[in-house]
Symmetry: C2
Subunit: 328 residues, 2 copies
DNA sequence: CTGTTAGCGCCTTCAA
DNA sequence: TTGAAGGCGCTAACAG
């Protein structure tokens, strides 16, 4: 691979002049510039981005750090992030933590060693120690899904309000008893960051105070299907299952079909996230939707803003809406 | 950020010695090594990966270049690739081409400028010019999905045989007429690489020669639902729809439900890919399955092998299987 | 065992 | 307008 030194030799000029020609810097005659560009073209010159990064201290690289992308919602976000980042000239590292706090810390560390310009993070870690860890890294960070603290910009919906709206919607459909499914709460280690699910649960509890005539059960079990199976008295009241994520709702839908339980006459069902998978199921699933793509775009916009030294908002709230469906 | 020069100064030794301590290189006394490591620890020294890459000419980075990851199958592959790559110490760039040939070429070029060690590619481009382009880049490449040529290692199932098996399976269920759905064939520009869909169609045509008593129609239209709607005579023979991808099958399933067409009594339906989405639909979709995770792992293994200078097989064939379902 | 020197390929400053 | 020199932070080769 030919470098600027070689081009300088070929053109009989100095490397500084070659640099001026190649990077449109002032202080060079049109002729020599033309000549240099011509030679560069001929020999197929390509700048070494690594060398450039070493001196400019800019890698034009950001990283997305997330559990995994098997869950639709994360792959959709990653897709949006990559697309927007490329528009702004950034390449993106994909980094999966598999919900392991130590791995997450290690990977973030490595990314900083690699001099990424910024990080988009859905964290498994939380707490003061972690905040200090991130702070010391001195790398621009924006977060989504699981908030870390007010210090790190958070771009997401209002989970609490969204669940309240969902409950309100179910109430308007005359349900008398709600069973809230949120397995994440027990599934993960207590030291893990589960801000999202926590906010949603908080919303649920608040909502129940607003609807005092409604009964409620909260299931935090990963074997929620078994648990449901044991609550066999679906008889007396009009009951609905509200799930903290569509994937659980889909599971329950499947269960109900197998059991021959008719939805929505025998039980109501509502999800959350509006992942694209649900468009293929029948009856169509009621859920809470929001623009995942918008989140991805805003994450990148904010991060790049921060990278460029601007102040950015600590919180951007994405709007949500109730998606009606045949399951309620 | 402190560097080796600073540590050398603090320890009163030369940078060479510091390097020996930090990188476990021989030729250093245990004491000085201990001392240097201690100081490095204290000042929170972190190696600059960019600088290191510049001299070693290794970035420990690979890239995955693919259309997008909205399609489940690609996000599953990307997930597997990232996971395996991290195990081997590589970070991965996610690069989406949105099926635009020029973008793909440009991005690959940039990745090479960034000195990625290798590329995992599902190509939109094809042809001799493109092959030459890749060859000149002199970067290790492995491919999946759309083969480019025998020159570039290809890790994938045998699409042709898989469709033949699918037809065989449908024949065993006594279907008399098959309608093959493969919109990709017309959806994309003729100069695009659609090796996968082409192989599958080839398999379908071959299979039809083996089953001369069966009728067949091939629909290459993106508006296949409309087309199907016009073929209203589902009356006489026992007919099945075979789709080149599960996403089309899911679409048809939805259509049939809306139309009140009963599956499988009034028509059979079979997909391809076995994406995880289908586990939630009823009736359960018959399809062709294979280990997507295995493909991801093998892609990384092969690429890294090649990066390390070893010869790797030009073709690794992943096995497939018929997944039975209630739709046939 | 340790220090010195010379790069990797680029950018930046200062002189000429 | 151009050239020369120095440095980004690290590795590598050769002396001592």
């Amino acid at each position: 691979m030919v470098n600027t030194k070689e081009i300088a030799r070929l053109c009989g000029v100095s490397r500084g002049t070659v640099d001026r020609a190649l990077n449109n810097r002032p202080g060079i005659s049109p002729e020599t510039k033309r000549k240099i560009l011509k030679v560069a073209e001929e020999v197929g010159y390509r700048p070494n981005f690594i060398a450039k990064s070493l001196v400019t201290k800019k890698t034009m690289t950001i990283a997305i750090v997330v559990f995994d992308i098997n869950n639709r919602i994360f792959s959709q976000i990653a897709n949006a992030i990559e697309t927007r980042a490329r528009e702004l000239g950034y390449f993106v590292y994909l980094t999966l933590t598999h919900k392991k706090p130590e791995l997450e810390k290690e990977y973030i560390r490595y990314l900083v060693d690699r001099k990424v310009d910024g990080i988009i993070l859905m964290s498994v870690n939380k707490g003061q120690e972690f905040e200090k860890y991130l702070r010391n890294l001195k790398v621009p960070i924006v977060t989504f899904g699981n908030k870390i603290s007010d210090e790190f910009p958070f771009i997401w919906i209002n989970d609490e309000k969204a669940i309240i709206d969902a409950v309100q919607y179910l109430a308007s459909k005359n349900y008398e008893k709600l069973i809230y499914i949120t397995p994440a709460l027990r599934e993960s280690n207590p030291s893990n960051n589960i801000y999202g699910p926590e906010q949603r649960l908080k919303g649920f509890n608040k909502a129940m105070k607003l609807h005092k005539n409604m009964e409620s059960i909260v299931i935090t079990d990963m074997n929620y299907i078994d648990t449901i199976d044991n609550i066999s008295n679906l008889g007396n009241e009009k009951v609905a299952f509200l799930c903290s994520s569509d994937i659980y709702a889909l599971d329950i839908l499947k269960y109900a079909k197998n059991k021959g339980i008719h939805i929505p006459t025998e039980m109501g069902l509502m999800g959350f996230d509006n992942i694209d998978t649900i468009q293929y199921v029948t009856p169509s699933l009621a859920t809470v939707g929001f623009s995942i793509e918008d989140i991805g775009i805003q994450l990148v916009n904010s991060l790049v803003d921060k990278i460029e030294g601007n102040e950015i908002p600590k919180r951007i709230q994405i709007s949500h809406e109730i998606i009606e469906g045949e399951t309620v």
